[in-house]
């Protein structure tokens, strides 16, 4: 029985805005194993690894390496302890060669110059040792994604990493490259390295990992040998609900289609299809949920429908109008609203007042302008009304919005997007990172909006939310619809989990029912 090479004991981390990222997490890894760390987005895995790699510090708890307590205060500190991190977003300088990227920070020297021959040799040696095939003289910008990742791994190994943390490594790889990666990982294991494999792709975890730790809502909810668990078991633990949320909701009476999507395909900046041939309808007076682990195409749907992103193939029609050449304002003029996933980047401008944040979608309209100037009285009245209706806790409409709590900021965003009585509302992760009170309020408003006749697309990685609020829902996996449930009351969370994690997939006929008007 191998010893624990790494133990993270009783780790708690609370961010300044009050969000509890990790709560009393215990995480231990045995020497020479490939250990999977799984959990949905927001479950706490990235925070835990940030603490391990020295990017964040925990509030409580300690880290033990080979039984000795250590303090990690920076990435270089972690590297010294033999902990290497392969980030999801590559930490490479594209205009430099492979060898230069490999040795940066630890450059071999000849007098005061870099010894390039030695650098190349170092690269070749470590590549040979671990059986990677790379050209030290190639420029990183010319290399495919799979090779770039190999360089990242080698970078860590060159610096003496005994423990390698791989953050969602297969997210950007083709199936071919994934197989290659797994062969490398097995070899690394043979040579005594320990690997922490962060992922939510259960098939891959079953294929390559020895043990698994499951995080949910900031806590560790399970630790076991991978062989002892089926994919269903893992999925249950990952996506189970701690508390069943019941939402007071009348039965929906959806009418005609407001949004028609046919064969929508989107290619991302890596050249990969992030949406593949997606088709569905959303109807008036309906909450259409889109469930799925983040990164499976949901955001692309939200972005293409609202105009933030252009699509390469397919048809998007809103109320019968093809929006291909439409600007964002054109789309908004079709009475489409968007509660964005990243509220701080897109949803608000932090330094300006609540008032200025609320009127950003309507300030130009004639009803708010009199003789070229803004009708301050009307605007103030409307903004005050929004603040009152949406219970925004603030000191007044002129207060800079960044002073509000996360929940109140989201209420302002929702106030803006819902108060325009939209015909179609695209709501993406509406309650992520906000307090309970605001969460309840926002969900209630979503239902009210639907009752007023709006077609609502609800994208959420929160199972509670998407199951309880949606009338119908689809599940996105790997850029495609993997399931369609016309009545969300007829599905259990375990079932949903299986579709979310790619364990099951419906037939094309069943998915085809998502299209209302043939």
């Amino acid at each position: 029985m191998a010893d624990n090479i790494l133990v993270m004991e009783n780790i708690t981390k609370v961010y300044p805005n009050g969000f509890v990222a990790n709560k009393n997490v215990n995480f231990s890894v045995k020497k020479g194993e490939i250990h999977a760390l799984v959990g949905e987005n927001g479950a706490g895995k990235s925070t835990l690894m940030k603490i391990l790699f020295g990017v964040e510090t925990s509030d409580t708890g300690r880290i033990l390496l080979n039984g000795n307590e250590i303090k990690i205060d920076s990435p270089s500190g972690a590297i010294k302890y033999g902990i290497g991190m392969v980030h999801q977003h590559f930490m490479l300088a594209p205009s430099l060669t492979v060898a230069e990227n490999m040795v940066m920070g630890i450059e071999p020297k000849k007098f005061c110059f870099i010894d390039f021959e030695k650098a190349i040799k170092m690269t070749q040696d470590v590549a040979k040792k671990y059986n990677f095939d790379i050209d030290p003289k190639a420029y990183v910008k010319d290399l495919p994604v799979g090779v770039k990742q190999k360089i990242e791994i080698l970078k860590a190994l060159l610096r003496g990493a005994q423990i390698l943390i791989l953050d969602e490594p297969t997210a950007v790889l083709t199936p071919q490259e994934t197989s290659e990666l797994f062969i490398q990982l097995k070899k690394l294991k043979e040579q005594g390295h320990t690997i922490i494999f962060i992922s939510h792709k259960l098939r891959e975890i079953k294929e390559i990992c020895d043990r698994i730790t499951i995080l949910r809502n900031g806590r560790a909810v399970g630790e076991a040998e991978v062989s002892e668990l089926s994919e269903q078991d893992i999925s249950n633990k990952m996506v189970g609900r701690d508390v069943i949320l019941k939402v007071e909701k009348e039965h929906a009476t959806p009418q005609e289609s407001v949004l028609k999507i046919r064969n929508l395909t989107v290619i991302n900046q890596f050249g990969k299809e992030s949406l593949k041939n997606v088709s569905f309808d959303v109807r008036k007076g309906q909450i259409f949920g889109i469930a799925g682990v983040e990164g499976n195409g949901q955001s692309e749907i939200a972005e293409t429908v609202t105009g933030l992103r252009s699509h390469s193939k397919g048809l998007i029609e809103i109320k019968g109008v093809n929006i291909e050449k439409h600007t964002i304002r054109d789309i908004r003029n079709l009475k489409v609203s968007h509660v964005p996933e990243d509220r701080m980047t897109y949803g608000i401008a932090g330094e300006i007042s609540i008032k200025d944040n609320i009127i950003s979608d309507r300030y130009f309209k004639n009803e708010y302008n009199k003789h070229g100037m803004q009708d301050t009285k009307k605007i103030n009245e409307e903004v005050d009304q929004c603040i009152k209706e949406y219970l925004v806790k603030c000191s007044g409409r002129e207060q800079p919005i960044r002073m509000l709590s996360g929940g109140n900021i989201q209420k302002v965003v929702v106030a803006r997007e819902f108060s325009s009585s939209p015909d179609l509302a695209v709501v993406n992760q509406p309650t992520r990172g906000i307090d309970v009170g605001a969460t309840e309020f926002v969900r209630k408003r979503i239902v009210e909006l639907r009752d007023e006749g709006t077609a609502v697309i609800l994208i959420s990685a929160d199972l509670n939310e998407v199951m309880e609020l949606s009338d119908s829902l689809i599940v996105m996996y790997d850029g495609e619809i993997s399931a369609y449930f016309p009545d969300s009351k007829n599905v259990t969370e375990h079932e949903l989990g299986e579709y979310m994690l790619g364990i099951k997939k419906m037939s094309p006929e069943e998915i085809g029912d998502a299209i209302y008007e043939k």
């Binding site: 980047t345 897109y346 608000i348 401008a349 300006i352 300030y363 130009f364 207060q399 002073m403």
Partner: protein, 364 residues
């Protein structure tokens, strides 16, 4: 129960910002005063003239107001452009070209009194708008960095101007490189006798109000502001970001061009600028002090004008060069624009205040 006045976080921040600016100015002036003290043989006299000189005579004070006019134009121009988060320095070239354009209208066109200067200033404004829009268009269309392109454009405008001066406007009888004399129909007359303050003051006062209203009370100003605050947010809300950026540059350029025109017609009888006048860069300090708010620009412009004239007077009466003001200006930029200046102190204040707020709540 004694209710101690607990301030909202916003009030603390506002008050702190004012405090920070005051401290920065105080440090800058203190440094200047020290320099004067240690390099002058008549330190107290020098300080006296520096700080109080502008108040000693009507003429002196008039000089302050005279300088206040182009500085306000420049401050307004930069304020609008910076509010859109564009580091466009072409205000300098716009100012210059505006002056040149006004000179051409003054010398080459015959128009009745009252109409002549209006046309000249309008022409100046249009030329200025075009100059400043160019880097904006390059940025929007091709993503070209506006700092470098605007600096280059300033020089191109300068050479264009000196060419026009030398080959089109030159009055060979003048004795120095200058255009023909402006006809009296074109110049801006002095409106307050014995002070030298010309009609441009009325125009600039009017523009301060207009620009303030434009930035804070119209939909175009609103679009400029939110684009400057968070371009992604503006785009997501449906604002046409590219056209808004160009609009901000057009307006800023027009203000700079009008400023150049006003300056030439109000302070000179011939066009004789052979180098860039420098107001464009002064506008940057003014806008920083005014936090890019048109309403505060006159205050900052007056402050800078007072300092400069004070230094001028000091240099005439004593042995100190007026350029000491440049040192003050530089320090002010460095300190006021430094986000971390007194940052730790600000945090302490805010923490202390929230603790007091908490105590109050618990006590109530």
């Amino acid at each position: 129960m004694k209710n101690k006045q607990v301030l909202t976080s916003k009030t603390i921040e506002n008050r702190f910002e004012v405090f920070r600016v005051v401290v920065a100015i105080a440090i800058a002036i203190a440094v200047a005063l020290l320099l004067i003290f240690f390099t002058s043989k008549q330190p107290f006299e020098a300080l006296y003239w520096f700080l109080l000189g502008p108040l000693k005579s009507l003429r002196n004070f008039g000089n302050v107001v005279q300088l206040f006019i182009p500085l306000t134009f420049a401050g307004l121009s930069i304020a609008v452009m910076f509010q859109c988060n564009q580091f466009n320095m072409a205000a300098e070239g716009a100012f210059f070209l505006g002056g040149l354009g006004a000179a051409i209208v003054a010398v080459k066109m015959t128009l009745p009194m009252g109409v002549h200067p209006v046309v000249a200033i309008l022409v100046g404004a249009v030329l200025g708008a075009i100059v400043c829009a160019i880097p904006g268009i390059f940025k929007v269309k091709w993503g070209a960095n506006e700092v470098v392109s605007s600096l280059m454009l300033n020089y191109i405008m300068l050479f264009l101007g000196t060419y026009v001066l030398q080959y089109v406007l030159l009055d060979p009888s003048a004795g120095y490189p200058a255009s023909n004399q402006f006809p009296s129909t074109a110049t801006l007359s002095v409106i307050i006798p014995k002070t030298g303050i010309h009609a441009g003051i009325i125009l600039v006062a009017f523009l301060v109000v207009l620009v303030y209203l434009f930035m804070y009370k119209t939909k175009w100003g609103y679009a400029i502001r939110i684009t400057g605050q968070n371009e992604k947010f503006a785009k997501y809300s449906g604002v046409g970001v590219g056209s808004t950026i160009i609009l901000s540059q057009l307006v800023g350029g027009a203000l700079a061009g009008a400023g150049g025109a006003t300056q030439v017609l109000g302070m000179y009888t011939r066009f004789s600028w052979t180098s860039l006048p420098g107001y464009g860069f002064d506008g940057i300090i003014i806008s920083i002090l005014a936090k890019n708010n048109p309403a505060y620009v006159p205050l900052a412009a007056f402050f800078l004008a007072y300092l400069r004239i004070g230094a001028d007077i000091m240099s005439r009466k004593t042995d100190i060069a007026p350029e000491v003001v440049a040192i003050v200006q530089a320090l002010i930029i460095l300190l006021v624009a430094a986000k971390m200046f007194l940052d730790k102190y600000k945090h302490r204040l805010i923490v202390k205040n929230s603790q007091e707020q908490l105590l109050q709540k618990e006590g109530a």
